[in-house]
Point group: C2
Chain length 393, copies 2
């Protein structure tokens, strides 16, 4: 690997930039309102949470997927002058990266108060992704789409299958992830799956969506709007909430990333997240063992198993057994997806994982990990991705 690390320069961000406000609208299958409205309102809620005025906002770093122009949002918020804006690609790979870019802006004096957000309306709510490849299939997708690996679940099914084959991972291990997320969601009044418990028998009898993955291995489909506000730690100390410090950050593509489909890489199961994890921990004074909980991107349950491996909580191939005995549930050694995650709270490309990370460090989660001092939040595995380590001051 060829990571170019300059720790001295990175200290300009490390523990010097903080998340000071979070906000979101209720999650829904159909939010029933224009996405431009929900984006504005989520950011406004986050500013209110921080105790900041709308016109103090001067930066925006967002997902490339966003459909509402920065200036359209800024105009309605009454922003006087945006001084920094950008968009970051690769779907759920962009979640923590929005914080990274916001932090760089703050650290270089290019903006003081940056909003990161995700507003998702699923439009016509049709759910036939195999009918949605309407244009020329190009780039890396041409390597697998013509062979029937069209939906994300098709490709992640191959990841799961290879993991089972290589390491003896069992469906029950994937089930442990789904059940942990669901248990956490059951305590979360905002979770779409609140009040709908899941046990292993039900999990194992789920209908197949993309072998070996069943209904309960797949994330929800959610309309949502969420935002957080990033500023300097000096300014954060004067604001309403306990500052949540950005300790380490990384974006990484790895070499030759293939869209979701790097299930056949060598070394075995090497994903984009491996490269992101290496950068993240090289920049960090904390280690995986220091994480009090983890919000690991969970579009599908196998991504959590491989994520535990990629980010160094266990060795390659041990992600399955790691989930046993309640280890990833509240009360276990490493509670994972404490809001319910994409599997059982809401699937909004991982931005809810950032908000839950902030709540854990504020001590305000509905599934609060006692004395939580640091947490990892990751973006999507399988695409060029990102991750962040958050900590208390």
């Amino acid at each position: 690997m060829n990571h170019n690390i300059d720790r001295d320069l990175f200290r300009r961000i490390q523990d010097r930039v903080a998340i000071v406000g979070i906000g979101h609208l209720p999650f829904a299958k159909d939010i029933g309102r224009p996405i431009s409205d929900t984006a504005v309102e989520a950011i406004q809620l986050a500013l209110e949470d921080a105790g900041l005025r709308n016109d103090e906002l001067d930066g925006m770093s967002m997902f490339e997927m966003e459909s509402t122009h920065e200036v359209a949002i800024a105009r309605r918020l009454g922003v006087r002058n945006l001084q920094w804006w950008d968009k970051i690609s690769y779907g759920g790979g962009a979640s923590a990266a929005t914080l990274m870019h916001a932090a760089a802006a703050v650290a270089c004096g290019l903006a003081t108060t940056v909003a990161c957000h995700r507003a998702r309306n699923r439009g016509a709510k049709t759910a036939r992704p195999w009918a949605q490849e309407r244009e020329l299939v190009k780039d890396d997708k041409a390597l697998h789409v013509p062979w029937g690996l069209i939906r994300p679940v098709d490709v992640i099914g191959m990841w799961a299958h290879r993991h089972m084959h290589e390491f003896g991972t069992k469906r029950e291990h994937f089930g442990n992830v789904a059940i942990a997320a669901r248990k956490h969601a059951n305590n979360n009044p905002y979770a779409m799956m609140r009040g709908r418990p899941l046990d292993m028998q039900t999990y194992l009898s789920g209908r197949v969506i993309g072998y070996p993955l069943t209904l309960y291995d797949c994330c929800l489909e959610t309309d949502g709007a969420l935002a957080c506000i990033v500023t300097s730690v000096e300014r954060a100390r004067d604001l309403r909430n306990v500052p949540v410090l950005i300790h380490s950050l990384a974006q990484a593509s790895g070499p030759n990333p293939v869209h979701l489909a790097n299930y056949n890489n060598t070394p075995t199961m090497e994903t984009t997240s491996v490269f992101c994890a290496q950068l993240l921990w090289e920049r960090s004074a904390l280690k995986p063992i220091d994480m009090d909980c983890a919000q690991i991107y969970d579009a599908f349950t196998p991504l959590v198993i491989t994520g535990l491996e990629d980010y160094g909580f266990c060795k390659r191939g041990e992600g399955g057994p790691f989930t046993e005995g309640g280890r990833i549930e509240l009360g276990g050694a490493l509670p994972v997806l404490t809001s319910g995650g994409g599997l059982s709270e809401a699937y909004v490309h991982g931005f809810n994982l950032i908000l839950e990370g902030v709540r854990q460090l504020r001590g305000t989660s509905v599934n609060q990990v006692p004395n939580c001092k640091s947490t990892l939040v990751t973006g999507a595995s399988g695409v060029a991705t990102s991750a962040v380590v958050l900590r208390t001051e």
Copy 2:
């Protein structure tokens, strides 16, 4: 205004980050090759110019308009791990902003070697923009598109007309801009208008495109691919070329920007560029008077007149007379668009202006300003925009 400036933090970028490589393919009406190829080749040329290996590249900041994925480019270049990538919106407003984001990445240790580029293929080459508003006209465009201000030239015509009305600006002033750009292009072997001189009589008899603007007030339509490479000044000193330092940078939207159509603002003719200029000069130790030449975004000639005003080379309303007596031509007090610009070299959303700024500071322009030590490069007026001050070490 509410500019939030922290000069101490900005010094992490100021004169600490440099442009070390530039490259571009020949400009053409129809480049005849896939845009994914031309993007890769332009970046490779810029890396070669810098004396860097492809696999040293670890970051990309690009226009939102780019159609080729970062990882598709990185894969073909043999990049091992992208550590930073983002996209910046608002068409030609993004040009200098790509440098700003690259510089922030370098200054925070998030990447060491960042490519900024613009690869433009105009596709079917149909040129009927009034037939291209096929979707719902939303946001600020709904304020003017239904009234017939559809093409950019329609709206900039309104700017020009108001400038003539308010300040007595004459068509000959716009002509001075077109003629200066053309003179410079005539010396530039890469310029699309090389070998095609333009005099005032020809200018004044040009056919009307959007009153009062005629053919010669409008930029070219060009396929092109251009790139530059950004790294730290310490590293730049070990490389092949004289480092071109990034001295000041800004992005700005101003309050309530209206897409191209803020011709009726008060104070008179206040554009997004006014807010960008204020930030840029507040961060800068240099002033407009220190600029040895200027590359001012020139989708249409009136944008150069207002740009000279916005960026402080003259007072509001004096941009027309400023162009008189050869002042903006090579040999004048402030040579403008020394490569020929968008009007006569190539229209590639202003990225050619960055490359020409670099050449002036290296001393390698075909229209070299003697002893050029600093230059301004601006993005598009009328949209949320950006600008950069470059200087020699």
